[in-house]
């Protein structure tokens, strides 16, 4: 297992980091209130070539895999996870089409913006020929295409759905809406048990890696603040209660990152990855419940105010952790796989740190 990105990937990650810092970070509040990303930022994102990261080379993509995705998402998520999602036309909706034998060329050429709606929490079902259901919150205000992933099946919908705007608790830069699907007739209906498993794994790692970015930003910001801010005659970071908290936050973040990368490496290596990906997402969500609120706590009253980004990290992390079935669906899948396995954590390490 090799968890270090090679030089080409290093360069892509560096590009993502710079784009995040230069183009996204200065506008986090305006993007959040606009519930969208401005045209200039969209144009400059299109120029750097990150949009087609995982598209197959045959349809003009970079043909990169899951490791590339999680590295890029962490960088963009550290700047603005909502914006990262808004800028990625397809987000995780690409995965069922890619992994379950869908028409990838048609999908990327004709889909505009596409949204993944999953049945990971049982909200949707794919019947014989018509689909019905609703999702109370999706991080989007509009979409041309909705990809429904339910069980071993996926359906590409081009009509029969509406997205009605809602306020949104976090990730607002990507938009916020309630998705309703009524008697939608799928444009394409695909079925594959293995492909659906891999799609879920990739979708979860997509979310998990955005969460990693948000958690990293919260850790970094609150730690630097704690080194500067004085109380009782010394930096607050030098009071052991906070020093230990900061150590625990960092430890948690590091553990999550290794889990996400190992699971991503499994996906790319073609190894069973559903359990590892579900576990990685669950761990990220659990860690975000430690890191998000404590990032605010370290800043005290300042943390509560919108002048600082930590309150946004706290909301954003929580919203991300509720998407696509969230924690419960993740531990359900991972728990079932573990209980069915004869050697759940047998030594057989492989992959990338």
């Amino acid at each position: 297992m090799n968890l270090a990105p090679d030089e080409d990937l290093e360069l892509i990650v560096e590009t993502a980091r710079r784009f995040g810092e230069d183009a996204l970070l200065p506008h986090i509040r305006s993007a959040e209130s606009a519930r969208d990303i401005d045209a200039a930022t969209r144009a400059s994102f299109a120029e750097i070539g990150l949009a087609e990261l995982e598209w197959p080379e045959e349809v003009g993509g970079a043909g990169l895999g899951c490791v590339a995705r999680v590295l890029v998402n962490e960088e963009l998520g550290a700047a603005d996870a909502g914006a990262a999602l808004a800028l990625d036309r397809f987000g995780p909706s690409l995965y069922p089409v890619l992994e379950m034998g869908g028409d990838v060329a048609r999908f990327v050429e004709t889909s505009g913006r596409a949204l993944l709606a999953s049945d990971l929490d049982g909200a949707l079902s794919i019947g014989s020929d018509r689909i019905n259901g609703s999702v109370p919150w999706v991080p989007a205000s509009e979409a041309d295409v909705v990809v429904v992933l339910a069980g071993d099946q996926a359906a590409v919908l081009r009509n029969g759905f509406t997205i009605e705007g809602v306020r949104g608790a976090g990730m607002r830069a990507a938009g916020a809406g309630r998705l309703r699907i009524e008697d939608a007739k799928p444009d394409e209906l695909i079925s594959s048990a293995a492909g659906a498993g891999r799609s879920r794994a990739r979708a979860r790692l997509y979310v998990a890696s955005l969460l990693l970015g948000v958690m990293r930003a919260a850790c970094d910001f609150s730690r630097e603040y704690a080194r500067e801010r004085q109380a009782f005659g010394r930096p607050i970071a030098h009071h052991q209660a906070l020093a230990f908290l900061i150590a625990d936050m960092q430890m948690s973040l590091d553990g999550c990152r290794l889990m996400v990368r190992e699971a991503a490496w499994r996906v790319d290596a073609g190894l069973p990855a559903e359990g590892a990906a579900a576990s990685a997402l669950a761990e990220c969500i659990e860690a975000s419940r430690l890191i998000g609120p404590n990032g605010v706590q370290i800043l005290g009253g300042h943390g509560f105010m919108a002048d600082y980004p930590v309150e946004k990290h706290m909301r954003e992390a929580r919203a991300l952790g509720l998407w696509l079935g969230g924690f419960d669906a993740a531990i359900e899948e991972s728990g079932r796989l573990l209980c069915a396995s004869d050697s759940p954590l047998d030594i057989g390490v492989g992959g990338v740190l």
Partner: protein
Amino acid sequence: MDFTLDRESQEALDELRKWGREQVRPVGLEADREARPIPVGHAFFDRCLERGDGRTHWKPPGSPPPERRPSTLTRLLLAEEFAYWDRGVMNATPGPGLPEMSVVGSGTEEQKERYLGPFVKPDKPRWACFAMTEPGAGSDAAAIQTRAEKDGDGWILNGAKCFIGAASRSDWILVQATLDASKGRGAQRAFFVEQGTEGLGPFKIEKKMGLKAYESSSFSLDNVRVPAENLLGGEARYERKAGFKAAMSTFNAGRPVIAANAVGMGRAALDETIRFARENDLVGDARVRDRIEAIARKVRMARLVCLRAGQLAEEKRPNIVEASMSKALAAQVAQEAASQGLELLGAVGARGDHLIEKLYRDAKAMDIVEGTGQIQRMIIARNLVDLPR
């Protein structure tokens, strides 16, 4: 970082697994039941020697060149696997143990020959040990009080040591003492004290909550006289010591090993928990599956954090933060794994005869030895936010 295992390592791992299942686990359970360390004359120790354990890695001058040492990754996975079967038995295994690396790294040629020589091809199970901890100084190793005073061409040692592994059965004990307790680590020296030296002992074999298979002893040193040549490395070494310490402070190889042990114990708790759930037809219950998932997830994370710390050391890259993280995290995870497993066992766990109950007691030590979880967090915080010493 490349985590791929070569064939040789995989074979070593398979071989250890067999040894663990057939020998280590049963003798560990026996020691726990009998509530005593594995006795010196136990047949298990003879089987250890037959297997090639109990030997020193040191090669006497003129020996054939040493075989390639296994990679850090392999050594960590072996440490994980051994502790999976029984961490206490791992510590009980004969050999020059903890002080070996100090002797190889700092001893004079004469000391290596004299103290490691008998471990090259041991005629019987032999042990050695390192004595640092005292009743009043654990984590704060700079505070030890055992005194070393120059006496003609030798030294006189006075003090008390506690919780020292295998002390009463050791051929020799490397004793850490201070020339001046007010001067901290810089005034400390290590001395070889041979078993039977006048004034050494008596040994009190401690009754422990867990890890009962190996002996932990406390003893006093009452006007123990050792000759000048028993000072580790001789006087000359202490003039170079400042530089040596500086070189060592950017990476740590010991903590990831303890972390790997803890990962193994966590994995054992996980496997036993799943086995119990299956045998009792509990896996259909979501609450049961959730507990199993939580254990597995944390163990998986601890293993990755541990392997990363080891891999950095292997590559001679700074790993102080990562090593401390691995140790702090894995110890906590092992403890929690056993505790959650007991939750699932319910009153069966309280009966006192289940492996998970033993693991619950055993694993606690992992958050104490080689720097407590609190000490690890201080080390992490020193690096993250310059926490003052």
